[in-house]
Structures are given as C-alpha cells and as structure tokens.
C-alpha cells in the first residue's frame, strides 16, 4: 500500500511538472490555462505554508514565555507585536494609517540602522584582517576591496588625475571580468543544478514530497 501511494505521488508530481513545463514551449490555450491553474494551486499552498510558519513561530515563543526560559521578555514582545500587527492587518487592512506609521517609525529605521552597523562592522573586519592575519589571501582580499572602494567613491583631489583614471580602469576590470566571470559561473551552476533537480523530480528519482 505504501509503495502504491509512493508511485501515485511520483506520478502526480511528474505529470504536473511536465504540464507546467510544456506550457513554456507549447503556447496553446489549454496548456496555458492548465499551467496557470496548477501554479495558482502552488501559490495557495505557499500561503498556507506561511500561515503554518506563523503558527509555529507563535507556539515556540508562547512556550518560551510559559516556561519562563531565558530571554522570554523578548518573546513576549515579539508575540505582542505579532498579534498587534495581525489584528491591524486583518481588521483594518495592511494600508491603514496606523500600520504605515508603525512601519515608517519602527521597522524602516531599525532595519536601516542595522544595515549602517554592517558598514561599520565590515570596515572593522577589514582593518583587523589586514593587521592581524598577514598572509597572501588576506592581502589579496583587502587589496581588491581597497581598489574597488577607491574606484567607486569620489576622490578629494578630483577625478581628473591619471591615478584616479587608472584605478577606475582597474575597478571596472575587476568588476566586469573577475566578478562577472565568477557570477556567470555561479549562475551556470545554479541553472544546471536546477535543471538536474527538475529532471530528477520529473523522473521521480528525487521525491521531495516524501515517500
């Protein structure tokens, strides 16, 4: 019985995948409509998964609060914020003025400040790296970062000097040759991996939906 169910799930996954894939290559109204319906079901399942994730987050932090575990006040704050924004979104909509005020007053500055701290942290990490770990890779890493920073930011002395032009050329060479080459390799690897994974799912060799 278990084997039959596994075969059924594999057949469903393969047929659905083949239909959606065929919709990309064969532009027929039936395939397009069928593919759209199947993708709509996937979106619906993604929404349900979001609700499940919300339930899991709430249960975990409620448990921490009930057991008075370490850091439970933060869990309580999270639960209160979650319930508050949930009530605002459900009953007043996501675009109510209170929700926008909360977003512009809390979420946006907080996340921007964390990103600003990231700039400080990266600068300090570069300083420590070059001052304490003196090996070839560290020098290469920090040297490339310095060249890109010099070629990206403005110069107090102006942008007419030959040194600045040279550094600009070096920066463009690094960004468009080395960085773009590495990015192409990453994208090709991602594409090949996605194709292989898709084929494995279509052929039921890989069953992420379970046995």
């Amino acid at each position: 019985m278990r084997l039959r169910l596994s075969l059924l799930w594999a057949a469903v996954a393969s047929v659905v995948g083949l239909l959606v894939l065929a919709g990309f290559f064969i532009q027929t109204p039936i395939l397009i409509a069928l593919g759209g319906s199947l993708v709509g079901l996937a979106v619906l399942l993604a929404g349900v998964a979001l609700l499940l994730g919300l339930y899991n987050l709430l249960s975990v932090h409620l448990r921490k609060i009930s057991l008075q575990e370490r850091g439970w006040p933060y869990s309580a704050l999270l639960v209160l914020s979650l319930l508050g924004t949930l009530v605002l979104g459900v009953f007043f909509g996501p675009d109510n003025p209170v929700a926008l005020v909360l977003f512009n007053s809390f979420q946006l500055p907080a996340e921007a400040s964390l990103m600003a701290l990231l700039a400080v942290t990266l600068t300090l990490a570069g300083f420590r790296l070059i001052s304490r770990r003196r090996d070839l890779l560290s020098f290469v890493f920090v040297g490339v970062a310095l060249l890109v920073l010099l070629g990206t930011g403005p110069w107090p002395s102006g942008e007419t000097s030959d040194t600045y032009l040279l550094i600009i050329d070096v920066r463009n060479w690094l960004a468009q040759v080395w960085a773009a080459g590495g990015a192409r390799g990453i994208l090709l690897g991602v594409a090949l991996g996605a194709a292989a994974t898709g084929l494995r799912v279509l052929l039921a060799s890989d069953r992420p939906y379970g046995e």
Binding site: F24, I32, G35, G36, V39, G40, A42, V43, A46, G47, L50, P94, D95, L100, F103, N104, Q107, L108, E111, A112, L114, M115, A116, A119, V120, L122, T123, L124, G126, F127, R128, L129, I130, S131, R132, R134, F139, V142, A145, L146, L149, L150, T152, G153, P154, W155, P156, E159, T160, I168, N172, A175, Q176, A179, A180, A183, R184, I186, L187, V190
Partner: protein, 696 residues
C-alpha cells in the same frame, strides 16, 4: 615327496635331501649354522654309546610299558613324537597301513576336498569310528535327564556369551545348541546380508543396557531345532527360514493378548517420540518377570532417575570476554512451520496449486540466528585509540570546568575609533554641507542605454515598478531609483507598483509620494499600488501569465469602491496582460529575487523593456543577464555613483547628490582604515621579526 626331501623355505619347491640350494629360486636350504639343519629335520638319533644311562633307562621303561599295554614298541628310526601319536589313534582308529582312501590320496591334486563317499564305499575303519560314536551318543542320551522348564538355559547362554569364541568347526560338526541365541552377536561377526529378516513376533535382542520388558517364556522341554547354519550367524535354521520355533509360538502376534505393550526404544527415523510413548519407556511401569529382574540386577542397571539429567549439572561459567562474544539472540532461532492443512496454497510458480510445499521464506527471507559468530568484535589499535580519545573527551565534558580567570579589560579602541570616524565622515557632510566632493564625471557603461530607453517609453502605457527590497536597503535603493522615477514622472508616465514582500508596498508609497509630490502625482490617477504578491517565484510566474487574475487587492487605493476594481482605474487602463506595461523596472537588493523576476517574468514581457535597478552588491550577478548576445535585461542602474551620474545627465540634483558627499567621505574613511590596518600589520610584523632576529 619323501621324508628325506627338503622343502624350500622361500618358494616351497621340493628339493632333494642332499641339495644345499633350491633348484628354482636358489635359496639356501641348509643353514650355515652347524647343527641347525639337524634340529629342523628332527631330533637326532643318538648313536650307540653316546647316550647316557638316563636315556637307556627311559627307553627301557617305555618298552616295558608298551609291552604291558600291548602296544608295539617304538620302531627304530622313527621320532619319538610319532611313536607317541600312534598309540593314541590305535590300530582301529585309522586305516590299515597302505589302505588310504582315494580321496585322501588325491588330496594334493584336488582342492575341493574329499567327496561324500557312498555307504558301500565306506572303509571299514571309518565305519567302525562312526559306529562307536553312535553308540556313545545313545548312551549319553539315555543317561542325561530330560530337559525341564527350570533348566538354566539362559544361564548357559550368558556363560556362552562371556566365554571366548570357540574356533570354527567344520560344517557338520557344529555342537548342538539348546536355545537360539538371544543376545546380540559381537560386532566383529555381523549378520550376512543374505539372512532373512527376523519374524515380527521374534523377541528383540537382549542387551545389558536395555533389558527386555516383555514376558519371554522360558524354554520348555522341547528344544529348538538344531541349526545347520554356521555358528557365526548365531541364528537357527528355522529362524532363517522364517519358521518360528515352538518355544516362541506363544509370543507370536496371534497370542499376544497377555503381553504388555512394548515401546520402541529407538524412535524410527522421521517419527517423533510422543510423550505417551516416552512414558512407556519408563521401566518402572513395565511388568518385568522376576527372573529378568534378577538379570537386570546382575547387570548392574541403575533405575532411571526421577529428575531430568541436566538438573544436577552445574551451569558452565564462561569468562567475561567469552560471555561478551556470545551472539545476542535477536533472531528467531527456530522457524515455525505450520501444519500442512494450515499452509497456504502455492499461488505462483511451477508449484502453483499445491499445498504444503517447502517454503523459501524460512531459508531466504525470514530472520534467523546466523550460523557464524557475527558478534565478534575486532578492534584495531587505531580504533582502540579513537575509542579511548572519545572516552576521555566524554569524561572531560562531564568534569566541572573551573572558573576562568577574569580577562583583562581592554578598551576596544580600534572598534570605537573606526565607528566614530565613520559616523563623523557620514554625518558632517549631511549636517554641515562640507566637505563637498566632486561629482563623478565618468558615465557608467550602461547609463546611456538606460537614458535612451526611458526616453523611448510610450506615454500611454503604465510602467510597472517592482519594489522587491527590504527596508534596510531603502537608504541606497531609494537614492538609486529616485533619478529614474523622477525621469519617468517628468514624462508623465503612469506607474503601477507591486512587490513580493509585505514591506514593498509601503516602501513604494513612501518613495513615490516623496518624489511625486513635486510632479503632482496622485494615487489612483497617476500611480497605483497593486499590493503584495505572495507565493514567491510561482506567484511571479502567475502574475506574468495573467496579471489581472493574480492580483485583486491593491494597496492604498484612493477610493474604497475601487478596491476590487483597481484594474479599471485610469492608471491600468489598457493593461490586459503583462506585456501591456510600457516597461518593467525591477528594484531589487538581492540576487535571488532579481533572478526570479528575470527568469520567471522575462519571457512574458514581450517587447517591453526590462530594467534592473539594483544595489551595488548584486551588480556582478545582474551583468550576465545584461551583457549577453540575447540580453534578458535591457538596462541596469546600480549603485549610487550611477544614480548621481543619472541625475547629472538629467540636469537635476536629487537624493543621490545629497548623499554623495556623505557616501564619499565614508568611503574615504573605510579606505583609510584598510590602509592603516595594513600599515599596522606590516609594522608589527617587522618589529616582531626584528626582535626575533636580535634575540637569536
């Protein structure tokens, strides 16, 4: 052959008496030791005068005795032993001299032995011998008492068993037996294979360890028939011929009403001994006659013990290492096989339809105890070392860790210095407006194409703006996307926003309102927020397939009645599908979401351009989609320098220019930090190397 001839000891050839060597094989006939030949030929005849007086006296006594007994005196020239044999046989016992029968004279020529002589051909001497033997037998039969029931025939049998085996007598001269042999014959004299099986009613063989339990009647006065079988068979002729002796007729199956049940001492092959039959084997429950009980006592058979034989045995004590090697009994040692009626009918294979066929599962599939010692643990030195290491690690984990000494409090000078320098570098230009850095004069490579693309956008079709970034990237991406939005608004191009992130619509509203106020853009008339698009890549594909079906909510719509009918607003008029948008501008901060839009929505854009406004960090991953023979991205705007250059190209100073000085000073501080760090590291390395050189 005469008495004087000599037989060769090697080849048995008859040679003349005077020959010293064999005429055939050449072996020496006379030993080289003097006197030995004479001893072999016979006792030497003492010469006259050589014998002592004692010998003369002996001879005279012998002659005198012979004369008194009527025997002939010893003939001269014959050995003494031959003369002693002669009187034992007598003249009547043997044939007269010179009257040897023909069969005896033909002994050397005939290997079959003497033939049976006819009655008329029996010589007189042999007839006299037979007559005398017959007379003696009749006399003995008359003198012997008649055999009775209390005759100790079994005792004789026992004595005969324990007596040494007599040499085999020739056929016809076997001594008569009074009872058939009941005991087993010695193993060195097995029954010939041609012997017929014993009768069913015949008593089992009696042995010392297994006394018979049945009532074997003692022999009556009638003796068993004399067997003519050879004695090694031990079975009478009647038994061999299948006939039952008379004294055993009472024990036959026709008259066994009074006989007890005789259980089989040894179970037949293939038959299990049932408990009922096993109980029969208890000798105490069998009626044994007195005479047989005495016999068992004599044989020293101990009565069976009441308890099990294994109860009195002490359990073996295995050493610890041997006990540890004992395989665990995790498998069923015995495979249960159902009765034939309960077994299923074979449904497949050549034995289909048969019941009770041999199962393959007990041999192949069903678990059973392995026959080999699989639990034997072989530990190499390396494995033992690793196990010891793990053991010590676990012990260290369990042990209490002592308190660490308080670390010396050090002021994180470098951290605070760098953070303070960065803060001042970013804040001073924004607060004081100084220092003022020069704007970039070099145009990024993709900027002219973007400006040309925006200039060519149709004014009657809305542009879709995808706000897919988190609020953390709002400081950078708002400044980068600002010049493009201002350029679009300057051309009065209607805008529609969408986002796959919940924070996207508020960010879009915030940016469009800040820039659009200067251009008089109004929500619902000049721009509209399609809202949040949940579902990730699948939702992007679905939206690209059919925008109207995938989004129906909207965000911050001006009029409530139009919430469900946002697609009927003037902003989205004429948009039926994804390619109806004048352009698709993707504002993204991450590579994944940028790739998702390019790959999922790119095929549905049609002739509409796809513009990527991205953070400087993901530019290298966007460029492959842009710098290609068949580009999927038509224009790229990334980083603050490109945005400043865009503003410079448009001739308007925007958010990018306001941030440019702070951005420039902050970059300078970061560059200085890296340069100082390199100098500090080089100096410390040189100092340490110099100190090490001086010490060495």
């Amino acid at each position: 052959m005469t008495m004087a001839d000599v037989r060769c000891p090697m080849c048995s050839t008859i040679n003349p008496a005077d020959a010293t060597a064999c005429s055939v094989c050449g072996a020496r006939l006379k030993p080289m030791i003097a006197g030995e030949a004479e001893s072999l030929a016979g006792p030497p005849e003492p010469q006259e005068g050589e014998a002592g007086d004692w010998l003369a006296r002996i001879r005279s006594e012998v002659e005198r005795k012979a004369e008194t007994s009527g025997e002939a005196p010893p003939r001269p020239g014959e050995p003494e032993w031959l003369n002693r044999l002669r009187p034992a046989s007598g003249e009547e016992e043997g044939p007269p001299e010179g009257e040897l029968p023909e069969w005896l004279s033909e002994e050397e020529g005939s290997a079959a032995g003497p033939s049976e002589a006819a009655p008329g051909e029996v010589p007189d001497w042999l007839a006299r011998i037979r007559e005398r033997q017959k007379t003696e037998l009749e006399a003995a039969a008359e003198e012997a008492p008649p055999p009775s029931a209390d005759d100790d025939w079994l005792g004789r049998l026992r004595r005969e068993e324990f007596l040494p085996t007599e040499p085999e007598a020739p056929l016809g001269e076997e001594p008569e037996r009074e009872a058939p042999p009941l005991g087993p014959r010695p193993p060195s004299r097995p029954l010939p294979p041609s012997s017929p099986p014993a009768p069913a009613a015949a008593p089992p063989p009696i042995s010392a360890t297994a006394p018979p339990s049945g009532r074997i009647p003692p022999p009556s006065g009638e003796k068993p028939a004399v067997s003519q079988a050879p004695p090694f068979m031990g079975i009478s002729k009647d038994l061999l011929e299948g006939a039952m002796p008379k004294w055993l007729e009472g024990a036959g199956p026709s008259s066994d009403e009074g006989l007890p049940h005789m259980p089989a001492l040894v179970a037949e092959e293939g038959l299990a001994v049932t408990p009922e039959s096993a109980s029969d084997l208890q000798m105490g429950s069998i009626d044994i006659p007195n005479w047989l009980g005495d016999l068992r006592k004599d044989a020293g058979v101990a009565p069976p013990d009441a308890g099990a034989p294994g109860d009195s045995l002490a359990r073996a004590t295995l050493p610890a290492w041997l006990e540890a090697m004992r395989p665990m009994d995790t498998f069923r040692p015995v495979v249960e096989i159902q009765a034939e009626d309960a077994q299923e009918v074979e449904s497949a294979g050549p034995l289909a339809g048969l019941r009770g066929v041999l199962l393959a599962e007990p041999v192949v599939a069903m678990p059973r105890q392995p026959s080999y010692s699989g639990a034997r643990l072989e530990v190499t030195e390396r494995q033992f070392a690793l196990a010891d290491l793990i053991h010590r690690m676990v012990e260290q984990e369990a042990s209490e860790v002592g308190p660490k000494p308080p670390a010396r409090r050090r002021l994180p000078f470098s951290r605070w210095a760098i953070a303070g320098a960065l803060f001042l570098a970013v804040a001073l230009p924004a607060l004081l407006g100084a220092p003022s850095l020069s704007v970039p004069t070099l145009v990024p490579p993709g900027l002219p194409a973007l400006i040309t693309l925006v200039d060519s956008l149709p004014g009657d079709r809305p542009v879709l703006l995808v706000f897919d970034y988190e609020p953390a990237y709002a400081g950078e991406l708002d400044a980068v996307a600002g010049p493009l939005l201002e350029d679009l608004m300057q051309r009065d191009i209607r805008l529609a926003t969408v986002s796959t992130r919940p924070s996207g619509p508020p960010l879009a509203e915030r940016l469009i309102r800040r820039i659009g106020d200067a251009h008089g853009y109004l929500n619902g008339q000049d721009y509209v927020h399609l809202g949040y698009l949940p579902g990730g890549p699948a939702a992007v594909q679905l939206f690209a397939r059919d925008p109207r079906e995938s989004l129906a909510g909207g965000f911050l719509l001006a009029q409530e009645p139009t919430r469900r009918g946002m697609w009927s607003t003037p902003v989205l008029a004429g948009v039926q599908q994804f390619s109806d948008f004048g352009a698709v501008v993707i504002i993204a901060a991450g590579t994944e979401i940028a790739r998702t839009w390019v790959e999922q929505a790119g095929p549905w854009t049609g002739a509409s351009p796809l513009v990527m406004v991205a953070s400087a960090g993901i530019e290298p991953l966007i460029r492959p989609y842009y710098e290609a023979l068949n580009p999927q991205v038509d224009a790229v705007l990334s980083g603050l320098p490109a945005a400043v250059a865009y503003e410079q190209a448009n001739g308007r100073a925007g958010d990018a220019r306001l941030l440019w000085d702070s951005f420039g000073t902050g970059m300078l501080v970061a560059e200085m930090a890296l340069i100082l760090g390199g100098m500090y590291g080089a100096a410390s390395f040189l100092l340490r190397s110099g100190t090490g050189t001086s010490e060495s």
